[in-house]
């Protein structure tokens, strides 16, 4: 069985049915996209690790009504990328996954310094790319000049 199908099966057991969107055409570059509740995140990521996926990137996104954090995971076989999405309010702290994927140690540091997300139980949240005494969070849309700042529904709806 391809790893992609294996992970779909495992995620379907954890997550509610309508949370998973499959895309066999690979139109947006992922085979599967799942909206994950914050309390299910660690469980879902642990399943990915067990199947053997690697963590590609953690991306933060700022909307007027909260943040979205996207975890991209992949496996060394054709078209196997999946994305897990977590939505949380400004100032909320989603759990860390750095004990499951070591790569998340740096990716979470990066999201923290850019979006002011303090991942719960992350052992090391020093600044990574910014100066160590930086007291600003540059990727928040309230920082600097940006073209637009919208609600999540306006972009995804």
């Amino acid at each position: 069985m391809a790893k992609k199908d294996e992970i779909v099966q495992k995620l379907e057991q954890i997550l509610p049915k309508d949370a998973i969107t499959k895309d066999d055409q690979y139109r947006s570059g992922v085979a599967l996209s799942a909206q994950v509740p914050v309390d299910k995140l660690r469980e879902a990521v642990a399943q990915c690790r067990q199947v053997g996926l690697y963590l590609e990137a953690i991306t933060g996104m700022d909307f007027t009504d909260g943040l979205q954090i996207v975890y991209h995971l992949n496996y060394p076989e054709p078209r196997a990328r999946i994305s897990l999405r977590v939505r949380c309010g400004h100032g909320e702290a989603p759990p860390t996954i750095s004990d499951i994927y070591s790569a998340a140690l740096w990716h979470e540091r990066e999201v923290h310094e850019f979006f002011a997300v303090s991942f719960k139980d992350n052992p090391d949240l020093r600044r990574l790319l910014l100066p160590e005494d930086a007291d600003y969070y540059p990727h928040l849309k309230s920082f600097g000049k940006v073209h637009s700042y919208r609600k999540w529904e306006e972009v995804y709806g």
Partner: protein, 373 residues
Amino acid sequence: MASLIQEPVDDRIYSLNLGPQHPSTHGVLRVLLKLDGEYIVDADPVIGYGHRGHEKMAENRTYEQFMPNACRMDYLSGLIYNHGYCLAVEKLAGIEVPERARYIRTICAELNRISSHLLWFGAYVMDLGGFTPFLYAFDDRENILDILDRVSGSRLTYSYCRFGGVARDIDEQFITATRAFIARLRSRWSDYHNLVTKNVIFINRVRNIGVITTDQAQRFGVTGPSLRACGFAYDMRKAEPYEIYDRFDFEIPMETASDAEARYLVRLREMEQSCRIIEQALDQLPAGPYRNDKVPFKVKPPKGEVYFSFESARGQTGFYLLSDGTSYPYRLRARVPSFSNLHVLVEVFKGTLVADAVSILGSIDIVVPEVDR
């Protein structure tokens, strides 16, 4: 009082700064090493000296205006980044690209891959103390720079691709020069192997040094030649064929030793595969327009997102674009391979000699401005 000002000193552990100005770090990378004698007990890469905020810049620029930024992240394979960014936007906006342009882009991207690997080859051997191969590699690389300079106008940060094509058409002289270069490079392989690959000093510096286990590669998300040296024939050009890579007959070089020598061999063989791709592309090169004239002045992709992944010289790279329907990206994220490939060194460095750390750092082939973005 002194104990308040000074941190307690463990007289057995010695702290050493590798960089930020060390010649072997290829850019401003600083690695804070904790040493027990000659052995490394802990390593902490300190990055961000070259952080320019490309991702933030994108939110205040139109898709066209961001074009020169893409090739400045990884300045050694700038054309591949430029190409990848164009492909990502074209996929998001649904822009058609003429056949001839797709061939031209592929040829130029593969030439850029060879030039990046040649520079790495020369610089790596120089890190290990051999000066002559560096000059050989730069002599060869200069040919590529001349070829690409003629069509794109720049030698390093090529902004040659456009949405729906390329900036300028190639001519007969380009084709003749490229074919001559490939013939010349092929005649050099035996020199390279005799000078470096079979050199006992080189072998002693790379064999069984810096082994990345499969588990480490998976936990840290290592990709590119470093992953292919661990026994995974994983390359975006085959795994998610983009542009026209599915039309060519080429192989993904693979090694299983996972050490610095394996990574060296993978890269050397990759150059030969790039030569094969270029030759086939030149043979099949169709006539026709080199640019889609119907692309609007301001590209306005519909609402939605795309994660476009491609293979740069250093590994799997991705542009993640989120569009809110305007001509400015709502969010642009660049997934860069060197970031993950450098992070794994935190574990690989443990227990090795300082002298080997230089060899391992070189074998990973990081580009620091790409890590810092």
